[in-house]
Each structure stands twice: as C-alpha cells, then as structure tokens.
Symmetry: C2
Subunit: 449 residues, 2 copies
Amino acid sequence: MSKHITIVGAGLVGSLLACYLSKRGHRVSVFERRSDMRVAGYVGGRSINLALSHRGWKALKKIGLDKEVEPITIPMKGRVIHDLKGNTSFFPYGTADQAIYSVSRGDLNKIMVEKADSFPQVDFHFDERCAHIDFSANRVVFENTATKQQQTLESDLIFGADGAYSQVRYQMQLTPDFNIHQQHEPYGYKELHIPPGPAGEHLIEKNALHIWPRGNFMMIALPNMDGSFTVTLFNSFSGENSFAQLNDEKSVNDFFQNFFPDAVSLMPNISKHFFENPTSSLVTIRCYPWHHKNTCLIGDAAHAIVPFYGQGMNCGFEDVNELDDLMNALGEDWNAVLDTFQKQRKPNGDAILDLALHNYIEMRDLSGREDFQLRTKIEKKIAESFPDKFMTHYSMVTFSDLSYAEAKHRGEKQNELLDELMRLNDIATIWESALVLQKAEKWINENLS
Amino acid sequence: MSKHITIVGAGLVGSLLACYLSKRGHRVSVFERRSDMRVAGYVGGRSINLALSHRGWKALKKIGLDKEVEPITIPMKGRVIHDLKGNTSFFPYGTADQAIYSVSRGDLNKIMVEKADSFPQVDFHFDERCAHIDFSANRVVFENTATKQQQTLESDLIFGADGAYSQVRYQMQLTPDFNIHQQHEPYGYKELHIPPGPAGEHLIEKNALHIWPRGNFMMIALPNMDGSFTVTLFNSFSGENSFAQLNDEKSVNDFFQNFFPDAVSLMPNISKHFFENPTSSLVTIRCYPWHHKNTCLIGDAAHAIVPFYGQGMNCGFEDVNELDDLMNALGEDWNAVLDTFQKQRKPNGDAILDLALHNYIEMRDLSGREDFQLRTKIEKKIAESFPDKFMTHYSMVTFSDLSYAEAKHRGEKQNELLDELMRLNDIATIWESALVLQKAEKWINENLS
C-alpha cells in the first residue's frame, strides 16, 4: 500500500532513499535545510571529493543511477605514496580491473536530486529546517530558513538523512533511553588545491589517490574532472607541526617546503589558500536506537565516521540498499523493518567507524614505512595465490559484499598470519618464496573456513 | 563587581549555587522547569534517598546550611549485608565517628530553595522551561510550561544546573566541537518501601545502609525519618531473574520470596507496589567542554553518574565549592574561572563516574562474597594500623578531600597490595597477624609516598 514518507535531508543518502522509496510506489517529501544546490551551487572549501566504491555503486546500480554517475567519476586504481624527496611508489588497491572512483560531492548530489525529482511522487522542499518532531503523531515541524514561517507535516514514516549534525537525531535524543557518543577528533583538515596544467591536464598521476604520509600528519589529493586535484591536509590541532603552529605565512611556507616539496611547486600561493580556507574538525557519531516509533535515522545521522577508509557515503548507500531488501522481505510492517534495520546495520556502522579511525594511522604513518609496504605486498600476494580463500582487508571493505563487521573481524584474524610472516628472518628477501606461501596456505586452512 | 547570573535548574546543585553566588554579592535568577516543590511537593516513586557525605557536608557548611540540614538526616555507619537466609553482617564504612547520612531528596531540596530564596538578590521562577540559548548574547529564552508564554533573559553569566537531561547541554551540543557520551545502562531500578513499625520505629537497623547482594541484582534500603525505609531494587532489564521476567503477580512474589525472604515479610503488598511504581533507567553523561562563552554546565548536567557510590550530589556540591574557590582565586575573569573549572573538574567527574559504575559490581555481587568481605576487613585493619599512610579506598572517596581522580588512582594502586595479601596461604586465619601487617607496611613504604 502506498504511504507518505518524509525524508529530512536532500544530501546523498536522502536523495538516494527518495529514489528507492518512490520506486516502491510511495509518496516522498524531501526537506532540506540548505538551498537547492542545483540553483545555488554547492558550498565548497571543505574537502568535498569522495571515493565511490563497490557498495556505493551497487546501490546506485539497483536504481539505475550508475549510468548517470559514471561519466563524472575518475577511477583511482591505487595509492601513489610520495616520500619526503618527492619519490613516488604505486600500490594498487586490488586487481587490475578494480578501482575506487573520485567524484565531486556537489556534482554527485545534483545528479541524485535531479533523479529523485524526476519521479512524480517525490517533492523537494529547500531552505526548510527541521525544528521539531512529534514522534507519537509522526509530525515534523519545518521552519523556512528565510521567512521563519513554520509548517507541520504529518506522514506515515519519517527518515532522518540529515547528516552528522542531524536535527532529527537531536530530537530523538530527547526521547527516553537514547544513547549517543558524539566525539570530535583531536585532528582536523584543510582543503587545498592543485590546479590543472596549461592544457587542462592532470599534473600528477590522474588515476590514483595521492598520499604524502608524514607520521603524525598527511596530505592527500584526489583527481577532479577538470584536471585539478582536491588536496586535503589532515593534521592535529595542537603539538609540533600542528595547525596551531601554522599561524603565519612563513610557518606555512616552511612547513610545505619541508614536508611536501614536490607538491608545493604545483600549489601556487599556498599560504594564501591556507588562510582563506577554514580548518574543519571531524566528528564521529555512535548512537542507538536508530528508530523511535516511525522515525528512523539513516546514513551519517546514524553513524558519522571519519573519511579515512573512503566509506562514509558507501556505507550510507548500503544502508539504503539493505533497507530496501528488508522492505522486500518484511513488507509493510514498518516496525519490523526499522527494528531489523537498526539491529542489522548498527554493528556494521560501529565496525566501519573503528576501521576508519584506524585507517588514519595507516594512511598518515604506516603507508610511508617500508615494513608496512612489504606487509601490504605480502597480503596481496597471498590474496592472488589463494583467491577463493583469502581476500586482503582493504578488498573486503572496499570491493566486497561482506558486512563491515565481518570484514573487520576477518581482517583482525588475518593480521595474525601477517604478523607471523613479518617475524620471519629475511622476510624482505623471501616474501615471494614457496616457503612463505606454504606457511600462508597452512594458516589459511587451519584458521579460515 | 556585582553581576547578574542566570541559573537553569532549582535542584540541589542549582539552589546551592544560588546561595554561593548571592553571598558573593551577585544578583541571581533561578529558573526551574518543575513547579515549586515547596507548594507542589516532590514527585516520588523514583528512589529519592541520598547519602550525604564529607564533600557534600563541606559545601553545605561553607554556606552555613549544615545546621539546617542536619536534623533531617540519619547517620548510616556502615553496610548491613543480608544473606539469602536473612542472616546479617555489619561492615562499618570508616572509623566509629564516621558515617554517611541518609536524606530525602525532596526535603533537602526544599530547605535549600528556602535558604536561597531568603537572600534578597535571588529570585526564583518555577514552571519555566529553558527553550533556547543564544550563547553569543548571553540570552536564555524560557517558556512557561502552563501558559507557553516566552520570556528572554539576558545576564552576565549562565549556569546549567538542570540535571542529567540538561536543556542547557542540549543547546550547547549544537555549538561547534561539543563532545558528549550519553549512555543508558542495561540495568535499572524500582522503588519499593518498608513501612515503619506500629510505634513509628525502624523495623531493621536504623543506622545503616542495607544491602541484599544477589550477584546480578540487588536490593538496598535507606532509613527515613518517619521510621520507614526507602527500598530500591536494582536489576537488569533482560535475562534470567530480570525485570523482563517479573511480569505478573506470581513471578514477583516468587522472586521476592526466593531472594529477599527476610525483607518481604516487612513489605506488605509487594507485588501491588511493584507494578504501581515505574521501572526507571540509569543514564551516564560524559561531555566536554563544560562551558561555551559565558554559559557553563555544573553538577549532573556536566557529569551524570550512577548512584552506586552515593556521590552524585556530593560531587555536584563539590563542583560549587571548587567554583567558589576559583572565584576567590581568579576574581572576575569569568573566562579564566570557567576554563579552569572545567579543566580541574572534568578528570574528577570522569573518575567518580568510573568508580560509581564499578561499585555496582561491588554492591550487588562482591559485597556478599566471603573473600571480598575478608578483603574489606584487611583493608580496614591496614588503615587503622597506619592511619597516616594508608586510607581505605571507600574512605578516600567518601571521607576525604582527595580529588576523585587521585582517589581512583590510589585505590587502584592499593589493590596491588590487597591482591598480594589475598594470595597468601591461610589468609583467612592469619589476616590480623604481625606478618600480614609487616608485609603491608613494607609495601606502603615502597609504593606510597
């Protein structure tokens, strides 16, 4: 039976959810606090490049959006690691045909809102802030950000797809027994820019994600369609070489000259951009329950994570995909759908959050270390040698349908093998030998089933 | 210079703070969401007996409130442990002249509001809900709970003393970089009652806190002035013998007959009361920062804890006491006062939260075990033998001025000694011997300085 469903938030997850629900025959009203990004453009200055990978593509494909999105993405087949001297090494993410895809958040969002808006049962309302929710009556009060005019909407079901600082969640926090852990990390980020070359070409390798790992901080770059790169410096707020110390032109210039000499030559007016762009913080959200009566959180609103595994959007899209599966399986019993949804997805939200936090250490520090680079090669070698039994941890998260919780668990388990192999004498010279692969096979047969 | 200060919340901490601030010469406006408890009475049914101890008394004394509060308190000199057969054993909390003091939250609150209201510079406003705060302008919007009329108050300083579900904190959560961990425990509580005897006498030992430790759950009883006891059952929400299973008259009667045979004979109509009273949950709050511009959280609003160490109110009163000390030391530099306050108190709020969570295990389980009872006796014996060098962990928290963080740290350290002594052969028979005390003295000299 057709229902009327309210979605708070017209971001990536909200607009995808609108497509899915309208395709199921429901009437969908989407309310967004910001202005229509198709008219107003997308607010930049905060690293807005994303990496679409398997889980995200899968959810787009199910609704036929993959074809429309594909042209605005750039495949990144692996990491290019830049050392202090500007030497680079390439580490593929997976097999030759696997990649993650750089995409502009704003461009992707526009396509998705267009798509959702093309369904006759979907209506969009911009500049409308969620001011209050009456959970018992399924009523949401929206306030127009310009006119301050309020309107109350009653519907059958309400989704909060309104991101890390979700207003729906703030309302839900006032209901009994709601648990939340909202934590800002001691590090943050600043967006910078590598412009295109004179002919619009990419000035560093186009089909890769670039990392300048420097121990306690790092810089990364993702390719854009116009030949430029969106660059992001991640750094602590305090301590040596932190944002706190980058407080004048000289300290900024020295910092970039010292730590990113190959990049700084591609980034004109680095100190000007540095001070023009904000330093943004990173927040994580763990909460539970995700639904109260007929209102449910989804995406970042339910489980905001840090960006270091490139999975925030992919996880949110997978939320939508799994919710759709549950609607197929459980039909119109909303309470069962929402209850199963939160029980099934919560451990996965927790797992990808932990993995993403850990991946900052991997990216900023380990990825630049020789022993870790060797370890990565060994892991890949084992995966290639036993493709039916062993997947690299990165592949489980990025290229598979394994739940995040299962991927985390298996990754931890596989670390035991890799720890063992790394302790072998002369591992740096014998890592491709039959001996190492035999040890791996024995361990796999004993430990993975 | 005299300032105008707004306090949100007229509970125990809010009314004490009003006394302190008005005594400093400030004008204080106190707004409370509930009705005036002096007129409307205090809403019962939720275990409202508290245990005043050293930190609380100290803060009351500084403002001259101890004399007015003393007559409504009952000293509890130790724990009376009730076993399954109804046998009891007494374990003193400290020395012969030390006690914690049972007091009714409602009666205490009334006295404190009366006191605060007696200062000419203090005005109280009941039935006024904090609806919004403009932190930059120091403005709070209050909404009358009956008329829905709103008023906006601008003042120099704003305190949120509005408890675990603080509205001030919810507003602060919307400011940048606010961290919060709000967690409900998997167990809760239900208030019950032992009425007075025919002549108004206490039917079990008056000057003690009674515990029926049963492993995964427990019942406790605190004496009231009228000869009755406020009884509280703490239990898990799910699992064997949990609240979930106590769902009809028979299961409740059987449960109390099986586990609390000596108490149930003193609790007429146990199943009736059981179903009349709500089952309440327990929430903990960790958050930071505590102040944003000129608005500051204090008491439970900043650090709500579970009740198992009897320190929630005492900690809140100590907050007020330390804030007062900081105002003496730092004068009118509010930002320095609030910033030092949060930095100084936050580790102590965290410490007492951890200690209180752990004490549930001690009360419901360990306190009923022979080995733990022996350990408690040994700890006390050492403290009596080396009074200048060694304090029991309970005494550090309850009867001393040591910071909670220091008390926690020292308690953990001292556990090493107690673990060591408990591993001695025949410790149950030799625990009072010179050998044991010599070992203790040696450890103390080597480890505590």
